[in-house]
Amino acid sequence: PAAAAVAVSDESVYRSASGLSGRKGAGDQEEEDQPLQAVLVADSFNRRFFPVTKDQPRALLPLGNVAMIDYTLEFLTSTGVQETFVFCCWMASKIKAHLQKSKWCRPSSPNTVHIITSDLYRSLGDVLRDVDAKSLVRSDFVLVYGDVVSNIDISQALQEHRHRRKMDKNISVMTMIFKESSPGHRSRCEEDDVIVAVDSKSQQILHYQKTQGLKKLQFPMVNSCIFGSLDEFEIRHDLLDSHISICSPQVAELFTDNFDYQTRDDFVRGLLVNEEILGNQIHVHVTKDGYGVRVSNLLMYDSVSSDLVRRWVYPLTPEANFTDQEGHSCTYSRHNVYRASGVSLGHGSQMEENVLISCDTSIGANCYISNSVIGDNCIIGDNVVLDHAYIWNHVHIASNVEIIQSVICDKAEVKEGVTLKKQCVLAYDVVIGPNISLPEGTVVSMHHPEEEEEEDDDEFLSDDAEVGHRSDKTKQKVFNPAEVGAEGKGYIWKASSLDDTEEEELSQCLWGLVLNPDPESDSEDSETDGPDDPVIPSPEMDDVKVFHMEVLGTLQRGLEENISCDNLVLEINSLKYAYNISLKEVMQILTRVVLEYPFQQQGSHLTPSQYVALLLPLLKKWAPVFKNYVKRAQDHLDCLSAFEEHFLEQESHWAAMVKVLMNMYELEILEEEMILRWFSQGATGDKSRQLRKNQGVSTV
């Protein structure tokens, strides 16, 4: 035990020496004594890197020859995090294996890494709900994705966060870390562009909006009293979201309470909207120093890699070998050229600038390499030109090849005379060539795009990329020599379809299979639609119409899957709340939906007798649903008025009406007394009077 005490005190000495001086406040000993924890989400929950991520999870893709997750863990460790929970979903076993081999799982690591895997995680929300369910976090924690590369010193933000939490208990739940970076900066991801309105004094977020795809922005300046009561606030568009946030334990609870929060954006939006009710606030910390970028698509991959090689992320430089991998140390020489051991360079080859070559790679004669990263054990032939090329491990490149701004994954092979234009991706094990030129933006993978669609319908990944790569796919499952060369192996996923009319930046952003410029709105749509909806409602539709559609969908599904009436009622009730529909409207819509149902299914050319034959069993089936809603006298009248409305529209089916009404009476949906009252009540129009007459005869 004595030795243990020594170890602890020594550790704290080192930690305070590494810049976390403020950790030993006298007053808040309890808070400070808790080791700093972190939640690392090693899954992106989207498929930006598809099809590359089919073989390797994104967190393990090499960036500067080191897996991305290692950068994130190093960042956490250097900020003093002592316990990290890594949540994996897609290819969890690979991530687990990687981490267990790495230095993070050694007993001497100052940062204890727990790996939590589940196939059930579909979003960040699920992860945080699990954090809450397992009550993993005890105090403030750092929330970060597995693909964040950063050297930001968050100790100050952490202190501010703790201070705020101490001042007014539990008001501030999250501090988001932003980095100053002017619009158009290459490290800014178009998808993540935000406009943030911040209270200048308290750094509280007042408004948060993604600008992507928007031409106009709404600021609730006039309406909101929050804006009005402030002396000074800032609207900032020069912030780069580092995707690092310091969260209070309440964040996990809030995710549990609001099961519809999927992403951090949902969370922020939800919190800001409900600020007055719940009293939770979100703050920002803006830093000028440091580097913090999330590798969210291949374009970002390109820019982060080059920043890394240009030493912006110091001390996380390639030659530092911070992962302690054997034999991965490299030497650094001028013009940012890094060479590991065992690299051989042929006669006349030039490494111009910003080049990183990992160990045991051999390069032929008269090559010209600039701004590139080359992995382990690659063999590169003569007269090869590489510019902005990212070549992973065990790649073979023959002679006379030209590669510009492309990614080549492990074990791919590029045969003689191949030219890869900008933004090509060769996934694992692909063979290209010889003597072929791939156009801009070509993606080649060993997986057939077709098989992908078949398999992955139930996949969690938001299917935004799916839309695009249908363009040029080949039906037959043989390699097309016209596309990949005579000896080539692989399928083209997406031919160059860069839209020239689009803005330059946007089309650049398409690299990395970002084919749908607005995935967010897309996924929202798919949530609101029932999967079997005949018509997809546009988001502008008013609630009543959407509700109508939903009820129809629900009943349809109920019929197909034989769902019990109780559950149908439950579903309709939740829909009622979701769209804020009054009970009266529910009644009317329900009645109309049921009465229209046969038309909906068979078309409007039914004869009255056919109609009745179809409708009566339905009524019998759904009688409990009606009985649930039709209780009070007024309900009966509402139901009948909807009934009347329906038949007013369908004059040809008047003959059927009597039978339907009779049936409803017999099923005890409607009471006799009410029918009579409805009948006796003054009819409003000529037609309805006629209708009553027609119907009254038979009832009596």
Partner: protein, 397 residues
């Protein structure tokens, strides 16, 4: 049995030290006090000596060499780590020789013998001596005491070198020089000119500290060094490392300063404690330099585009417009910044290479005198000190 427990504790400490070295310079600027590094290294080596399992001096030297290689690899530019390891190795050799009964002088063979014998072989260290451990730890403790006193020892010599009404120039911030000047200021009045040493501008801190001690201080830009040099009586600088040939690896800008001093025949004095003496030569290119993030040279943000003051008036007249056109918004930023400075486009970083080196090499012929904790030496004498401090076989770890 606390044996294995101690082992893990030890590896933990070594790992912590290693990662600390690797991250060296994230928080407090690129230069951490090398005196602290030297002390930490020595303390760690003492711990290794005390806790690791070894039977003979040879085992211990092997362990220390192994750890030493890792430590030096963790931060090649921090030479004090390697120096301390060599010092400790030398201590072990001496203690071993003493235990065997042979005096230290006997090890010094004649030139002829050295040439023919081909050096001492490791087999000589296999003998076991019970008191060796205690002796080595004792000697390391002495080394630590010596390290504690270095700055004071150097500062004590200040009065011999600084005279009244002199104008002294220095560059950046060196703790040793600061102590040196402060010590002289107790008795003498003189003027110090500090070159700020952009982009990290440690010179500012130095100047503040000096003026607090009552020394008349002026800060100049690095570009003004040559112009001011004609008025300077003496240049006193610190250094990061003293190289084997008597040259320096010092903070960026020192070479300019040394050349200017040479041109004006101003004496250049280097305050360097002995632990900065490294057997490294300046031709080892890969470990010589240290390049840090270019952030200080060209801010990543490329100028503060969105100035707070620019936007403050928006809500005052903008209460009526709640819709803001995003294109006009960025245009608005553009207009505002163009008043302040030329806007650097976001593309600049991909087109321009920005480097931020930390060190300069200063050749020995530009240096007049070294002041170490054991006295003053000429650059040509450094090789001699080297052979006193380190064993020739330890130059290569």
């Amino acid at each position: 049995m606390p044996g294995p427990y101690k082992e893990t504790d030890l590896t933990e400490r070594v790992e912590a030290f290693l990662s600390d070295l690797k991250r060296g310079g994230t928080g407090a600027g690129p230069l951490r006090g090398s005196a602290e590094t030297a002390r930490e290294t020595t303390a760690l080596l003492r711990k290794i000596t005390a806790q690791a399992r070894w039977g003979s001096a040879g085992d211990l030297m092997e362990i220390i060499r192994k750890e030493g290689r890792r430590m030096t690899a963790a931060q090649p530019s921090e030479t004090t780590v390697g120096n301390m390891i060599r010092r400790v190795l030398k201590i072990i050799r001496e203690e071993y020789a003493r235990s065997r009964g042979s005096s230290e002088e006997a090890d010094q063979e004649s030139l002829h013998k050295l040439l023919t014998s081909g050096g001492l072989s490791e087999e000589n260290f296999r003998q076991h001596f019970a008191p060796l451990k205690a002796n080595v730890i004792e000697a390391i403790n002495e080394l630590l005491t010596e390290l504690e006193g270095t700055t004071d020892n150097i500062a004590m010599q200040a009065l011999e070198h600084i005279h009244s009404n002199e104008v002294i120039m220095t560059i950046g911030r060196s703790r040793t020089v600061e102590a040196f000047l402060k010590d002289a200021a107790r008795k003498r009045k003189f003027h110090v000119i500090v070159a700020e040493c952009a982009p990290f501008c440690q010179g500012h801190e130095m100047a503040t500290n000096l003026s607090k001690a009552g020394i008349e201080t002026t800060v100049i830009t690095d570009a003004a060094i040559f112009a001011v040099m004609s008025r300077v009586n003496k240049v006193i600088i610190g250094t990061q490392t003293v190289l084997a040939n008597g040259g320096l690896r010092a903070i960026n800008g020192t070479h300019t300063l040394a050349l200017a001093a040479k041109h004006h025949s101003t004496p250049l004095i280097v305050c360097a404690p002995m632990f900065k003496l490294s057997p490294q030569f300046p031709n080892e290119e890969d470990t010589f330099h240290k390049f840090v993030s270019p952030h200080e040279v060209l801010p990543f943000t490329e100028g503060n585009i969105c100035k707070k003051t620019d936007l403050n008036h928006v809500p005052t007249f903008g209460k009526s417009f709640s819709d803001l056109d995003i294109s006009s918004l960025s245009f608005f930023f553009f207009l505002n910044t163009s008043h302040f400075s030329l806007r650097i486009s976001g593309e600049i970083l991909s087109k321009v290479n920005v480097h931020c080196p930390v060190f300069d090499y200063v050749p020995p012929e530009l240096i007049t005198l070294f002041i170490s904790n054991i006295g003053g030496h000429a650059p040509s004498y450094i090789y001699r000190l080297m052979s006193e401090l380190y064993h020739p076989e330890d130059h290569e770890l």
